[in-house]
Subunit: 151 residues, 2 copies
DNA sequence: TATCAATGATTGATATATCAATTTTATATC
DNA sequence: GATATAAAATTGATATATCAATCATTGATA
């Protein structure tokens, strides 16, 4: 059976999420939270606006993710003294530990996902995915085709 | 910056969903619904249990997706005369049309996602993804490693 | 300076998911 | 045949998303 590429990708990530979930759950995290924490670890406190831009999600999604993360003690919401609308989200020590733990598990899962791949194949897959990802970002910025799909 | 493969996949599909959404919305569909409708088109009425197995999702997800699809007139829930617990989900004419429309758009998006890929590269990407997908299914069936990740 | 538009955070509605619990019906065992 | 267990569908709670609306503050301008 021939599946379109978007269907194949969808199913792959669906399975991936189901594999990751129990390991994240053991750390008290949801499936979308590591990306956010990771970014905080790498480069200090950020506004929610910045996080939303970085993660390419709606600001409201960030807001609710932070509700959960803050309740779990992984981050704290502070105030930005230069702009009283904005907040500054900071990672806690517990958050740093969770990220470190997760990175170990994540590496192990990556190895399993790429089981049977040679080094060269793995590199090539990454390159392909980066190209597809870049193409998708382009599509997002304009119409699907010069003449639209539905005439 | 080097990203783990699972992060790259996650972001790719996130972008994909955001690209697909407006086209699906124009048809009155959500981002998970085409897979379900497609399967119904290909092989007649199914129980919800069967659909859940096929889509690899929780039965409750199917149930709520059908609530929405039925309200939109894309499917009807009938009764299975041989088993009064089960139902039989059937696609409507409107559902068939939506699938046909969607397939045209989906093919166009696939082409754009693979923009810059040669035929051979595209085939190879599909093959790689199928291998990763199969690996993920395997992982789902057992522990991550002989000696677990957290020692 | 007073007003008005833009921005950052939030909340409500909905779709997609899981997990847990419940209901109804089938099947298996005693 | 009565009871116990399993299976199919559903509902409630929560996480991840979008979209739309709201609130407070900020910035630009008339």
């Amino acid at each position: 059976m021939e599946y379109p590429i978007h269907t194949l990708l969808y199913r792959t990530v669906h399975r991936q999420r189901n594999v990751l979930r129990p390991y994240l759950r053991a750390l008290g995290l949801g499936t979308g939270q590591p990306r956010l924490l990771m970014h905080l670890v790498q480069a200090g406190p950020f506004s929610q606006k910045h996080l939303a831009d970085h993660l390419e999600v709606d600001p409201s999604a960030v807001c609710r993710m932070l509700d959960s993360l803050e309740k779990g003690g992984f981050v704290v919401r502070g105030a930005d003294k230069t702009d009283r609308r904005a907040g500054l989200v900071e990672i806690t020590e517990k958050g740093r530990c969770a990220v470190a733990d997760w990175q170990r598990t994540g590496r192990a899962i990556d190895r399993r996902m790429l089981g049977g791949f040679t080094e060269a194949e793995a590199r090539q897959l990454v390159e392909y995915l980066e190209r597809v990802s870049a193409n998708l970002q382009q599509i997002g910025r304009g119409p699907l085709a010069e003449k639209e799909v539905a005439p």
